[in-house]
């Protein structure tokens, strides 16, 4: 396998940031997302482990900041039982925003009928949509009785790791089917700005990173045929239409695949026929399906054990 890639976020000025991109290309790293905001730019990238110091030196020279972002390359579903407007601002908004600062791509999913205790339920469509992500983070409220006894029925049919956030301090074991519980982030009707709240969010990012690491380890046991970023690069090279997609992350990287934000009907054949220098085409090493999110394309990469080789 090629060099080990480390995820980093660069925050700095727009001026001369092209130098970083050039260096990254020379080193064989990948740019996952570039977010320009006025005169500032945020670059989310994967840098070869050995060459991090080179990028670090250049970013110091450009007066920018290079920080490690353990959540890069993950797509997390932040699920809230309700996203009703009269409860705005939702704490789930802050949760999603904070995960994004760690480098993750988050999608907020408000369940149509997730509120309440006895009446809470999730639809088949919603479950399938959540299952397309790497991790599902359920943002619950204040009462331990609800979190322990009533809300876990929303986890039924969720096959990906489940992280739960809520107000009270509960042990993960007490919540049926949850893989991790993070307390101190319950329902609040204001933006999370106070110190204990921010501490809770920091702890959340740390714990979710641990969860991501464990999923990565799991994948490493039977590695993916190709790295998701490699497919991203090939899509950018072989399907020029991706440049015209206006969403913030036209190609969203997941731990074991990616979401391409092009219409499925028009582009799925092109995506399936993407060629690699090593020989195979994409449809031989990955499953290309229609995403439940809008009409996007979802690619899930096969494992070494299924295909028999790694490129």
């Amino acid at each position: 396998m090629a060099a080990v890639l480390e995820p980093y976020i660069y925050d700095g000025g727009m001026y001369k940031h092209g130098l970083i991109l050039e260096l990254l290309e020379d080193l064989g790293g990948y740019l996952i997302q570039a977010i320009p905001a006025a005169s500032e730019v945020t670059l989310i990238m994967l840098i070869p482990e050995k060459d991090v110091h080179l990028v670090e030196a250049l970013s110091t020279k450009l007066l920018g900041k290079l920080v490690k972002s353990p959540l890069t390359g993950t797509e997390i579903a932040v699920v809230s039982p309700t996203l009703a407007y009269h409860h705005l601002p939702h704490s789930a908004c802050d949760v999603a925003e904070y995960l994004r600062r760690g480098g993750a791509n988050t999608n907020m999913i408000g369940l149509a009928r997730g509120m309440g205790r006895r009446v809470a339920l999730s639809a088949d469509y919603e479950r399938k949509l959540i299952n397309e992500h790497d991790i599902a983070l359920f943002s619950f409220g204040t009462f331990s009785d609800c979190i322990i006894n009533k809300k876990p029925k929303l986890f039924e049919g969720i096959e990906i790791p489940i992280v739960v956030t809520g107000g009270p301090d509960i042990k993960t074991e007490d919540i049926p089917n949850a893989d991790m519980y993070i307390g101190g982030i319950g329902r609040v009707a204001h933006r999370l700005r106070k110190e204990p709240e921010l501490e809770g969010l920091d702890r959340m990012n740390k714990m979710v990173s641990e969860m991501v690491d464990s999923v990565r380890e799991e994948i490493a046991k039977d590695p993916l045929v190709v790295l998701p970023v490699r497919i991203m690069k090939e899509i950018k090279d072989q399907i020029p239409e991706i440049e015209h997609v206006l969403t913030p992350a036209p190609i969203t990287i997941q731990l074991d695949g990616l979401r391409v934000k092009l219409p499925y009907d028009e582009f799925h054949e092109k995506v399936e026929k993407i060629e690699f220098d090593e020989g195979p085409i994409l449809s031989e090493i990955a499953n290309v399906t229609q995403s439940k999110m809008k009409n996007y394309i979802l690619i899930k990469i096969q494992r070494k054990s299924e295909v028999g080789f790694v490129i």
Partner: protein
């Protein structure tokens, strides 16, 4: 929140009650109800899927008449108009709305920032009528905000609701199951306790 005489939130677990107090307090702040509420008590019983809230409002919010914030007089000689000199601009939008509704938009002019004139046939007769016009009823907007606050503070899924607003006494009970009579009675008792033994009157 210091201006509230009583602000109690109770639940099965005390820590969770403290947390919920923050939610109620945010709802009160967002809707600028701090000065309108005198006492408030909330009891949340998650095990029974029950939310009860009683509020005692501060009374004495009289309707605002034009004479409360403006001088009304007859215009200059020869002009058939009523001139309103405004002292407090806070009610200007409501004033214009009510004048437009009453006299027609074409007859209402605002030559200056703090002057509004109304063309009419008999200014002398109109002056006392305009002076007595009610432009804003704080009690009514308060009620609307109070209901909004109750809905914001309630857990989202609790869609079966009972409410009663009797003068300055507001009772709100919400659940997701069939509403039990004793829950409503309990809430009425809570109000009595909050009032310190005074009867809460009949519910509407």
């Amino acid at each position: 929140m210091s201006t509230l005489d009583t602000f109690v939130v109770e639940s099965t677990i005390a820590e969770e009650a403290d947390h919920y107090k923050q939610i109620v307090s945010d709802a009160i702040t967002d809707l600028v109800l701090v000065r309108s509420i005198n006492k408030i008590k909330v009891v949340v019983t998650p095990e029974e899927t029950l939310f009860q809230m009683v509020i005692v409002l501060r009374g004495g919010l009289a309707p605002i008449k034009i004479s409360d914030f403006a001088q009304v007089g007859v215009g200059t000689f020869g002009e058939s108009e009523v001139v309103i000199d405004i002292e407090n601009e806070a009610y200007l939008p409501q004033l214009l709305e009510s004048l437009w509704a009453r006299c027609g938009r074409i007859n209402v002019h605002q030559p200056e920032r703090k002057t509004v004139s109304v063309s009419c046939e008999n200014p002398l007769e109109e002056v006392p009528l305009i002076e007595e016009m009610v432009v804003e009823d704080p009690q009514r907007t308060l009620q609307a905000r109070l209901v909004d606050m109750a809905i914001r503070a309630t857990p989202e899924g609790f869609r079966v609701r009972y409410h009663s607003l009797n003068g300055n006494h507001f009772i709100f009970v919400a659940t997701e199951d069939v509403m039990k009579k004793e829950w409503v009675e309990q809430a009425h008792k809570m109000l009595d306790e909050l009032l310190g033994g005074e009867p809460s009157g009949s519910s509407s």
